[in-house]
């Protein structure tokens, strides 16, 4: 229970922080912002690795964890690389 309260505390702070910094992103960059947040939501890969790699328990759990690693990795790799590809294109005119 105490751990839960602590995690909730972190959640609330992070939400406020998120609102503060993300509202400063200009509309020009909203598409890369979305693909970039796709990449970050791939952080589930950490939870997936924990689910897939634990020694005890069932094979089925480890396999589901492995599948979760796969899907989260699509987000991580796809998200970061496509965001980079996009941001690379945003150029100011060199006069």
């Amino acid at each position: 229970m105490e751990v839960l309260i602590f995690l909730l505390f972190i959640l609330v702070l992070a939400i406020f922080l998120g609102f503060e910094i993300i509202s400063k992103v200009p509309s020009l960059l909203h598409t890369p912002l979305m693909s970039g947040s796709n990449a970050i939501s791939g952080i589930t890969v950490v939870g997936s690795i924990l689910a897939a790699g634990l020694g005890q328990g069932e094979d089925l759990a480890a396999m589901l964890g492995g599948a979760a690693v796969g899907f989260a990795m699509i987000n991580v790799v796809g998200g970061y690389f496509v965001t980079d590809r996009m941001l690379h294109m945003f150029k100011k005119k060199s006069k």
Partner: protein, 462 residues
């Protein structure tokens, strides 16, 4: 210091890089660096997790990392810029699916849960499944594959949705009360199935033009799903990263809704643009079609040109033709700007990316609020594949479904050239009086072909 606390320190560093990454995104000059910083944090988090002493089975992890990484790379480099909304939609769904699988893996490994543990498992299952199926439907609608982009409505829709929600909540309570019971697995299976159905039910009634809102909200859900799995494995980093993504999606959702003058509830309950809305306003005036040679003469004589791109530009892949016209105009000494409405295209910022792809400087792109006060000084306002976002009925006709939506006030420019495939209505299915104004000329045809014809006129110099 134990290895465990060292690895947890790495998590703190990762969280910092994610926050810094978002902060650097506030400026196009530093945005790319921000993305790289955030990516390094992600690699550090993954490596640290692999080093935890509890991790002893690597085979499934390695398969997942290699397969997922390969598919991700394929997505990142094979998706055309016009297809970004679909790709983001699909990635939202995979994020949800990963959280759903984590919840199931945890349940199978540790069925004995406290009420809170069971409740969190239920929540992660619910958010993950809704995000997954909702995103797949959004993707299919955007691709116009399997299902049409139009809203799908049927009698008693709201009641069916409410019934499904009631089922999910009721079974959730039964599940959380005793997650270790022999029938708890059955409950979770049904919750998963109902949540998958719920994701489908909430997205099918939503029309193509409202997709930006849906994609934003699902983006937020994918973050919340990561948060929920963070509670399951009790990991701070997942909670922080998930909350950042959740907040980002919510902010974008609100911006989109504001730009359409609608509430989030209205978007999801509305089925907007599905029926014929009666408007009392008579459309006066007549359509004045022009050929490219006449349009060329107007552009050639203009000092200031404003281009308003819309989804039609993406459909006809006309962004490079726009750049050619831009170069021809600038060579002629004309000042050219691009006015981009927040909901133009199928996702926030979509037009900016397409123009950037065509090597158009972002200095030339102006936001709606900045451009409207200067509209009287615009000689020619050229509208390429946009419709509802320049519809003056939003300002003038109280009966119009678009009433109150902020628009780019193109009708106040000296001359308006509308590039359009045919006289079809916009996604909202509303007649656009702009096309009938005295200062409006219609240039019918495929946007790309029309633009190329104009560029040729400039080249031959008539």
């Amino acid at each position: 210091m134990t290895l465990e606390s060292l690895l947890n320190l790495v998590y703190i560093l990762s969280a910092i890089t994610f926050i810094l990454g978002f902060k650097l995104m506030s400026n196009p000059e530093s945005a790319r660096r921000g993305n790289i910083v955030s990516g390094i944090g992600m690699i550090a988090a993954i490596v640290a997790t692999l080093m935890f002493p509890e991790i002893v089975r690597y085979q499934f992890i390695v398969i997942g990392i290699i397969a997922g990484g390969a598919v991700g790379l394929l997505f990142a480099y094979r998706t055309p810029m016009t297809g970004m909304p679909q790709m983001v939609g699909l990635l939202n769904g995979f994020g949800g699916l990963a959280s759903l699988l984590v919840a199931w893996a945890e349940f199978i490994a540790h069925p004995e849960q406290t009420i809170f543990g069971g409740g969190i498992l239920w929540l992660a299952t619910l958010i993950g499944a809704v995000t997954f199926s909702g995103s797949i439907i959004a993707w299919a609608k955007l691709e116009e594959r399997f299902i049409s982009g139009k809203p799908i409505l049927y009698a008693g829709q709201k009641y069916v949705t409410l019934l499904v929600i009631a089922g999910i909540v009721g079974l959730g309570v039964l599940f959380a009360l005793d997650a270790g019971a022999s029938n708890a697995g059955g409950f979770l299976v049904i919750v998963t199935a109902l949540a998958l159905i719920l994701g489908i039910l909430v997205v099918i009634p939503i029309g193509g033009a409202d997709m930006p809102v849906v994609i934003c909200l699902l983006n937020s859900y994918s973050g919340m799903a990561a948060c929920a799995s963070g509670f399951i494995v009790q990991n701070n980093l997942l909670i922080v990263a998930g909350a950042l993504v959740g907040a980002s999606g919510i902010i974008l959702t609100l911006i989109m809704c504001k730009a359409m003058n609608r509430s989030v509830a209205n978007v999801f309950l509305g089925g907007f643009g599905s029926g014929a809305q009666a408007s009392t306003m008579e459309v006066v005036g007549e359509i004045k079609p022009v050929k490219s040679d006449e349009a060329y003469l107007m552009l050639e004589a203009a000092n200031s040109v404003l281009i308003v791109p819309g989804y039609g530009l993406a459909v006809s892949q006309a962004q490079h033709a726009v750049r050619e016209l831009l170069e021809a105009l600038e060579k002629n000494g004309t000042e050219v700007r691009f006015a981009i409405h927040p909901v133009a295209g199928r996702m926030p910022g979509h037009m900016n990316v397409l123009l950037a792809e065509a090597n158009i400087s972002y200095d030339a792109m102006v936001e709606m609020d900045a451009v409207n006060p200067t509209m009287e000084t615009v000689d020619v306002c050229m509208i390429i594949g946009a419709n509802d976002v320049v519809n003056p009925a939003a300002l003038e006709d109280k009966a119009s479904p678009l009433w109150g939506m902020p628009i780019i006030e193109a009708h106040r420019a000296r001359t308006v050239i509308v590039m359009k495939r045919s006289m079809g209505k916009g996604f909202a299915g509303v007649e656009n009086p702009l096309f009938f104004r005295n200062n409006t000329r219609m240039l019918f045809g495929d946007a790309k072909a029309s633009l190329q014809a104009l560029v040729n006129e400039f080249k031959t110099g008539h």
